[in-house]
């Protein structure tokens, strides 16, 4: 099966699942879990482009999520901006910051981006905790409801639809990118950086591009999250959240867009249903990663696809 056909099939299945899922929901708790899973999945689809294709790890994606969330919260709440404009401002801020960090870092070989994003994540987290007048500090701040183009997004079903459509579009864009000259060039860099550069592939530029893109996707998800929750605390931008995102991508399967979605859904939904484990959430997370690495080293989706003889997307 060639790239275009397996992409269409994958997207069709995703659309069916997203559309059919609410039929199985018996109360608003399910919607809540699904919306949170979807928001994490959006972040992970973007992050997977960076980890799975550009071969770089970000340990600070929660910071971009937080920037988007707080940009929406502060600009719509305190400054009375329209939500669309606040969301765009978050995207610009996250993208600009990502560009600023990545340009000098990605010109170097090795995993310096992981260290740089670790530092960035901690700085953002500290700022959000300390700038009490702006963010409310550790106690958090309220976020106005979302009004998109004059239409108030209210109620679980409407929120679910918005997140589902967002996830679908982000997935579509990611699949397009992977199967484009940029995606091919990134895979080539992974295979032989020297040969790729000899073919004219500017590997540094492509890595920067993907990092900025993934940061903006995280920021978008953060904006959705802020409006959906109605109350925002700096915990959402903490280091552990960044680690959770990376864990989701790795568990689901690096270099697999649908794997990123599966990883995000499993690791967001699991703790909700295993409330007994609430105090041990991070232990369960760590355990899932360790077991995953032992039994499904390529991640859930690529491993299943391989066993079924399918092409993993």
């Amino acid at each position: 099966m060639d790239g275009a056909r397996s992409r269409l099939l994958g997207l069709a299945i995703l659309a069916l699942v997203l559309a059919g899922l609410p039929l199985t929901f018996t109360n608003s708790f399910w919607y809540d879990v699904a919306i949170h899973s979807g928001i994490s999945a959006i972040v992970c689809v973007g992050l997977n482009l960076l980890i799975g294709y550009a071969g770089q790890i970000s340990l600070g994606h929660a910071a971009f999520f937080g920037i988007g969330a707080y940009a929406s919260a502060i600009l719509t709440g305190s400054w009375r901006w329209p939500a669309e404009l606040a969301l765009l401002a978050g995207l610009a801020l996250s993208g600009g910051l990502a560009l600023l960090v990545a340009r000098p870092i990605l010109a170097l070989r090795g995993h310096y981006l992981a260290m740089a994003t670790l530092g960035l994540g901690i700085i953002v987290s500290i700022l959000l905790n300390q700038e009490i007048r702006l963010t409310g500090g550790p106690d958090g701040m309220p976020v106005p409801g979302l009004v998109l183009f004059g239409f108030p997004v209210r109620g679980p079903l409407v929120w679910y639809a918005l997140v589902a459509v967002s996830l679908f579009i982000v997935t579509l864009l990611a699949l397009h990118l992977v199967d484009s000259p940029i995606g091919r060039a990134l895979r080539a860099v992974h295979g032989s950086e020297l040969a790729a550069r000899a073919c004219g592939v500017d590997s540094t530029r492509l890595k920067v591009l993907v990092f900025v893109l993934s940061a903006m996707i995280a920021s978008y998800a953060g904006s959705l999250f802020a409006h959906f929750s109605g109350w925002l605390t700096p915990a959402e931008a903490e280091f552990m959240r960044s680690i959770e995102f990376v864990t989701m991508v790795v568990l689901g399967g690096m270099a697999s867009t649908f794997g990123a979605i599966v990883g995000a859904v499993v690791l967001t939904a699991l703790p909700q249903f295993l409330t007994v484990f609430h105090d041990y959430e991070h232990v369960v997370l760590g355990l899932a990663l360790v077991l995953g690495m032992i039994f499904l080293p390529r991640g859930v989706v690529p491993e299943l696809a391989r066993r079924l003889g399918w092409r993993a997307l």
């Binding site: 864009l173 397009h176 990118l177 484009s180 000259p181 940029i182 995606g183 091919r184 060039a185 895979r187 080539a188 992974h190 295979g191 032989s192 020297l194 040969a195 790729a196 550069r197 000899a198 073919c199 004219g200 592939v201 500017d202 590997s203 591009l209 893109l213």
Partner: protein, 262 residues
């Protein structure tokens, strides 16, 4: 005007002078060969011309423009393509995708076009695919088009490297031992292939140990020894040059059509 001009090029690794003040120029439209014993500095010279290494001193001009110290991707954009002595194929990609990466600079690769799969991108992709398939046919690789590169036999991988380099439609094509490790039949095939490649387009600079291949193909030969240019000229003259004979074979011998006959 010469296509490539190299002036007093030198490269040291620590205390070792791999290349020691080499100057030459290559005329456009011809097949040039670079020969010399192992360790003479041939691959180092290739790596300097393609920007994989920066020279310790000296300058490089391509089409009259100084290109010393430019990164590989910039030189590729100017029209220099190469193959590698130790294969550098993208093993986990398909054979067609390998060739498509070779077309990279000619493809639509703006971010928005890639994300949205715009009509201009689809058109460019379709054309690139046709060009890639045509190249694969010419190099006898068409039956492998959908196969992952790591499933190919060695000789086919060598040809795949050439196909990928040709996909860029280069002005200057550098081939680093295209026949290394190939048996006699495969070497003959590669010779045929290179002859048709050279007829069609790019200026070729070839590094090769197989003297029969070199003498048959090259119109101009550069001989490198211990990082210095020992001799250059047409094959007939190189074949009889006493210095070349000595460097290759000791005092008693002649560079014949065979690989090494002492």
């Amino acid at each position: 005007m010469s296509l490539l001009e190299v002036q007093h090029l030198a490269k040291s690794f620590g205390g070792v002078r791999a290349l020691d003040g080499v100057s030459f120029s290559l005329d456009a439209g011809r097949v040039h060969a670079l020969i010399g014993p192992n360790g003479a500095g041939k691959t180092t010279l290739f790596n300097l011309i393609t920007g994989m290494l920066a020279p310790t001193s000296g300058r490089i001009f391509f089409r009259g423009q100084e290109v010393t110290g430019l990164p590989p991707e910039a030189l590729a954009a100017l029209g220099i393509a190469r193959t590698f002595q130790n294969l550098q194929v993208f093993l986990d990609m398909t054979v067609r995708e390998n060739v498509l990466v070779g077309c990279h600079l000619r493809l639509e690769r703006r971010l928005h076009a890639c994300l949205l799969r715009t009509p201009s991108l689809r058109r460019a992709e379709r054309e690139a695919r046709e060009r890639a398939d045509r190249l694969l046919r010419e190099l006898g690789l068409d039956r492998y088009a959908e196969a992952r590169a790591d499933s190919l036999p060695y000789g086919a991988l060598k040809r795949l490297e050439i196909a990928r380099a040709l996909a860029a439609e280069p002005v200057l094509l550098l081939l680093d031992e295209p026949a290394a490790g190939c048996n006699e039949r495969e070497t003959a095939e590669i010779g045929e292939l290179l002859r048709s490649v050279a007829r069609g387009g790019p200026t070729v600079l070839l590094v090769e140990h197989d003297m029969r291949l070199v003498m048959n193909l090259a119109e101009h030969i550069l001989v490198l020894d211990h990082g210095r240019l020992l001799a250059e000229g047409p094959p007939e003259r190189i074949r009889r040059d006493p210095q070349v004979i000595e460097a290759y074979l000791g005092r008693h011998g002649q560079v014949t059509d065979g690989v090494a006959q002492g």
